[in-house]
Amino acid sequence: MEVTRVENVTRTYKVGKVETQALRGVSFSIESGEFTGLVGPSGSGKTTLLQLIGCLDQPTSGRVYVNGRDVSRLNRNQRADVRRGTIGFIFQFFALIPTLTAYENVEMPLLLIGQSASERRKRVMDLLGSVDLTDRAHHRPDQLSGGEQQRVAVARALAPKPSLVLADEPTANLDTPNGKQVMETMMRLNQETGVTFVFATHDPRVIQYARRVITLRDGLVVATSMDS
């Protein structure tokens, strides 16, 4: 089943009078359960593409579909509604709320979808267990290592049982062992839960985890390959 599809998508940024075309007509689709890497050098349009698929931004032209729904022209609140519970995010920086504990950070998306306290408690502890952070549940981000913080972000992304998790350079700020641990955790959760993962990277050590690789260059898809 198709989770997301982009059709002829372009995205142009205007800074003052200068226009920069980040995407110049990109089309592909992602099926449920994929573990796909978007690769390409800096400025190739990986992050822009993730933002469009993740309903954080809107294309200048073309269409973006999520779970069969055209999300290209939704307003700010409609896009928030699509993201909530459907799309999980893992960012390059460890995007946790610093005043909340690991537990509370993972709980936040569940609060937004209105889950009961008992359901939340079970789900959060299950997830923290699956990223091996049960004993760190009540620590705040500043008491966690970078790798631990990124694993909390993975757990948070998965909390509302989304159909799609988007990760933008998830290991860029981690050392090799922590980067490896985060990628292996993501891969394991993809296999265990069947959740679709799309991650952007330009790190060859990360690319090797992808079962499908979409290569971007100068705002265009230049190659798509499947892992044997």
Partner: protein, 405 residues
């Protein structure tokens, strides 16, 4: 909701000093407003009480043609056989005291100096004279049969360098339009601690006042004090005063009532100005918070938080600041008001005419003022969050995630 406030509390805790001083600004503003409201209310209340006690009473029975401003002494403007009417009024159960009084204008002359005064003829034995009798500074209170004794106020005595036992000349306008002059002995000096009154009113027994003003067996008014001023209507309904009119304390103190209303409107403006100043502190704090937390707003937005909920987060913070600030304001304001209620502020003789101001203003904080100011402070602080909250809610997630534009 609980989570919203838990987050808000922790967010405020990130910069405790800033949050504390923001709340303190509101607290100081509220404390100042409570004190101002209490002082104004105390001043008005004090002025009204003084006026009722010393000047107007709760009710006055007068001839319909009597003009208070002219201190008319023409017989047709006065009450004939006032003792009988006073006794009749005093027999009503709601009436505390009813006593005839005769007003005349005159001039006190001592040495080379002279001062215009209002002469009040009183029944010295009446309970209505308690404020003057209790306020005796030197000498004695005149008796009913005293034919040459006069009671003067302390500021007048000081102005003319007079003491009890000294002699003065009193010039009095009489009922037939002449001016009579007689020597008097200062029997005593009184002080009601209301300089505006004490410096211009002298007392003598009613019989003597009637004699000198040629208002034989007449009085300007029957001065009535009630056990409860809210009974004024019931007493008026019960009284048979024949051709005479009855004035209530509200009618006689209209200037004061209007002044209070005007002061109320003026004070409302002051309240808003003070609260607007404290609101700018809150706005500033929250705007700083929005800019410091731009990326977090982006994260929350990315996981699906709607703009309305992001706004609610900032309203929760401002409401917590409001609660903290109001708590500080109530404690601080309560202490200030308690001091001002107990000890008052000495203002001396401001030279104000038309309103009887005491030498000291005592604060009087009403529950209504406390509640309305507290609610106003809370609402203004919440409104102060509107702009920062909108700023946060309208951020595009992509820009917010990159720390703003």
């Amino acid at each position: 909701m609980i989570h919203l406030y838990k987050m808000a509390l922790r967010d405020l805790g990130r910069n405790r000093r800033r949050s504390f001083f923001s709340a303190l600004a509101l607290g100081l503003g509220l404390a100042l407003l409570l004190l101002m409201a209490a002082v104004i209310a105390g001043e008005m209340r004090g002025a009204l009480e003084s006026s009722i006690r010393l000047q107007s009473g709760h009710l006055q029975v007068r001839a319909p043609s009597y003009d208070e401003d002219k201190t008319s002494l023409a017989w047709e403007d006065l009450i004939e056989h006032p003792d009988q009417l006073a006794a009749q009024i005093a027999s009503l159960s709601q009436v505390k005291v009813a006593t005839p009084r005769l007003f005349a204008s005159g001039i006190v002359a001592a040495g080379n100096e002279s001062v215009g005064v209002r002469i009040v003829g009183i029944d010295p034995s009446s309970e209505a004279n308690a404020p003057f009798r209790d306020g005796m500074v030197t000498g004695e209170f005149p008796t009913a049969d005293d034919r040459e004794g006069i009671l003067i106020g302390q500021p007048l005595a000081e102005k003319l360098s007079l003491e009890s036992g000294d002699r003065i000349n009193l010039l009095v306008n009489t009922s037939n339009g002449d001016v009579d002059q007689q020597p008097f002995v200062i029997r005593g000096i009184y002080s009601t601690h209301t300089p505006g009154y004490d410096q211009s009113v002298v007392f003598m027994p009613l019989a003597k006042a009637q004699a000198i003003a040629q208002a034989e067996n007449h009085a300007s008014t029957i001065f009535v004090l009630l056990k409860d001023r809210d009974q004024a209507g019931a007493v008026i309904a019960a009284l048979q005063t024949g051709p005479y009119q009855i004035k209530t304390w509200e009618q006689m103190n209209q200037v004061l009532v209007q002044t209070e209303q005007m002061a109320g409107a003026y004070m409302f403006l002051i309240y808003l100005i003070v609260l607007a100043i404290t609101a700018t502190v809150i706005i500033n704090t929250l705007i700083m918070a929005v800019f410091e937390r731009t990326r977090e707003i982006g994260i929350l937005s990315a996981i699906g938080m709607r703009g309305g909920r992001i706004m609610a987060m900032f309203f929760a913070e401002s409401s917590l600041l409001a609660v903290g600030g109001i708590a500080m304001g109530l404690v601080l304001g309560g202490l200030l008001v308690a001091y001002a209620t107990q000890y008052g502020f000495f203002i001396g003789n401001l030279g104000v005419t038309g309103i009887l101001l005491g030498e000291r203003i005592y604060a009087y904080l009403t529950l209504k003022d406390t509640i309305s100011l507290t609610v106003m402070a809370f609402v203004v602080t919440l409104l102060a969050a509107l702009y920062p909250a909108l700023l946060a809610a309208r951020m595009e997630p992509v820009e917010a995630l990159h720390g703003g534009k």
